[in-house]
Subunit: 333 residues, 2 copies
């Protein structure tokens, strides 16, 4: 027998979603100040739901595997969590923040945290898919989110503005995750993100990567008939940082053109590509931030429109659940 899940709250017809795209440096207090100012600005522009980038309190420390970086981790609740909880109460809005969570000594997660007005901290989501590739050494830091039963893993969070399907960055490349959130009643999908270019890559390769990132997430909107938004960080962060490092790109390295940056061992830093966006349920771009600067993006969403779109494109009706067993395999060999 299935444990009853919380009833879906009455659907709001519209919500106003704000994204706070900002750069981060080596000083957490600077970053938190920026995040707070961004949330205030979005709220002033009418947002009742505000999404921040992934790990917005720190520089993107996962560019190296350094034991010292575990010092950035915090419990939830904890100081950063309390700060955003107070802010959500003060502004009477929903805030989705992102925290390097210390769950226990030696056990850490990459966690999105939801604060709902005066209710404060109401839920969290621990990143389920963890990347690991040059400049993104996340498997060193983050334990993947739990899955012990249907009640855990890819569960939307009920808030006063709607039922939010919150995931984190690398999750955005997995159609399975978007579908599971949809099937659990998510009304929109939200992804705090930290993704960018290797400055050594060609312009063509850079465009291909950013476009692929947008395309995959717009596709989740289309296949599932709901709005999707991602909030990314922006700006250059050097690969080897010290307290004195300035956030300026290194000079162009003399690598031969034919060796992709991914195959080199010299970290060249990450140029985070911003491009935070809000897409509607047909995958149409409603709002898009630049790839160059801090930016607040605000857009109104009509959540009832999703059902009309799903009636026009009835994909959920036709899924061949009898034939999808192979999705639970690593490979069908």
């Amino acid at each position: 027998m299935t444990t009853p899940r919380p009833r879906k709250p009455p659907m709001k017809e519209t919500m106003t979603l704000g994204l706070v795209q900002h750069a981060c440096n080596h000083e957490p207090s600077d970053n938190i100040k920026k995040s707070i100012e961004g949330v205030r600005s979005a709220a002033q522009q009418g947002a009742n739901l505000v999404l921040l980038p992934e790990l917005h309190s720190t520089r993107y420390f996962c560019q190296q595997e350094l034991i010292d970086n575990f010092a950035y981790a915090e419990t939830i609740p904890g100081p950063t969590s309390d700060r955003f909880s107070q802010l959500a109460a003060e502004l009477d809005i929903v805030i989705v923040a992102s925290i390097f969570e210390r769950r226990a000594p030696g056990l850490y997660h990459n966690t999105a945290v939801v604060f709902d007005g005066k209710r404060g901290l109401i839920g969290k989501y621990r990143k389920m898919h963890i990347p690991d590739d040059p400049d993104y050494y996340e498997k060193y830091y983050f334990t993947p989110g739990d899955y012990e039963s249907e009640k855990q893993g890819f569960q939307p969070i009920n808030t006063s503005v709607g039922r939010l399907g919150i995931m984190v960055c690398w999750d955005q490349w997995f159609p399975e995750a978007a579908r599971l959130m949809t099937l659990a009643g998510a009304e929109l999908l939200l992804y705090p993100t930290a993704i960018g270019w290797d400055p050594q890559d060609t312009d063509i390769e850079k465009e291909k990567q950013c476009d692929a990132w947008l395309t995959v997430q717009r596709s989740h909107a289309i296949c599932n008939g709901l709005p999707v938004a991602a909030c990314n960080r922006i700006g250059f962060e050097p690969g080897i940082t010290t307290r004195n490092t300035t956030n300026t790109p290194p000079p162009k390295a003399p690598f031969p053109k034919e060796i992709p940056a991914q195959k080199r061992n010299t970290p060249s830093g990450i140029q985070f590509w911003g491009s935070s966006f809000i897409a509607g349920p047909q995958g149409e771009i409603i709002a898009l931030a630049s790839d160059k600067a801090d930016e607040i993006v605000v857009a109104k969403l009509d959540l009832t429109h999703s059902e009309t779109v799903r009636q026009t494109w009835p994909f959920l009706r036709d899924r061949r659940i009898d034939a999808y067993g192979g999705l639970l395999k690593r490979y069908r060999d």
Copy 2:
């Protein structure tokens, strides 16, 4: 214990893929002639694999539910199948055709059929997801493809040019299907297609729909790290056809603008949007046909490039198969 499946043939490094985008009318012999001419032309341009549109031997008869239309169905092998089998042998190429299959009296499928040079008919795929919405009454005509065990359903077909993940039209909207083909070793995905605009829709709506169609399929390429191609039909086909009907659009109907075409009961026909395309494993468009005319699209594909892309974006490594059980449910309620 799992029944052993045929071993994958040695991977070819490159293949040349041709798409034959063409219009169809009420006269099957005209359409077959067009298909054959298109295949010949693609082969002359170097294609060793040629994909035809969905149900290319007939007009898109699914615009109405008419019992007479079952007369279009043929067995496989049968006359149309034999014709393309001979053509594949003559040109020594692989052809993917699409046939309204009569499997038994009263049992019909929408089937993609593969012919491989002198080996002739080597495999088929019966459309798994069947649409049904105004102007596309396919559930009346087509039984969905079988799934009784892992060996059936979403199985690629080994050919002399590679292991082909062939699906049909509506299947293209389901990320589950693309993933299953990938996990079974498909080296590229191919979709014979018949999709178009309701002439009554606004230009904005039309653009949104065609863009969504492209976006979803490019997303399959990205998420799965392999090339994807679709071959669509082109041209206007009226909603109510007789032997005397010409393929010209009806005059603009006086519907109020605010009622979407999907909600009206007057069939206004379909303007098939062509836009047949070939995308690479990062979702990049390699070749794209127009939305206005018959067109042969030919492009060379380097199949070994997919593995490099998958190493750079290692999505297959990180799937949370422990947490995907909900994908086998209709809804997680």
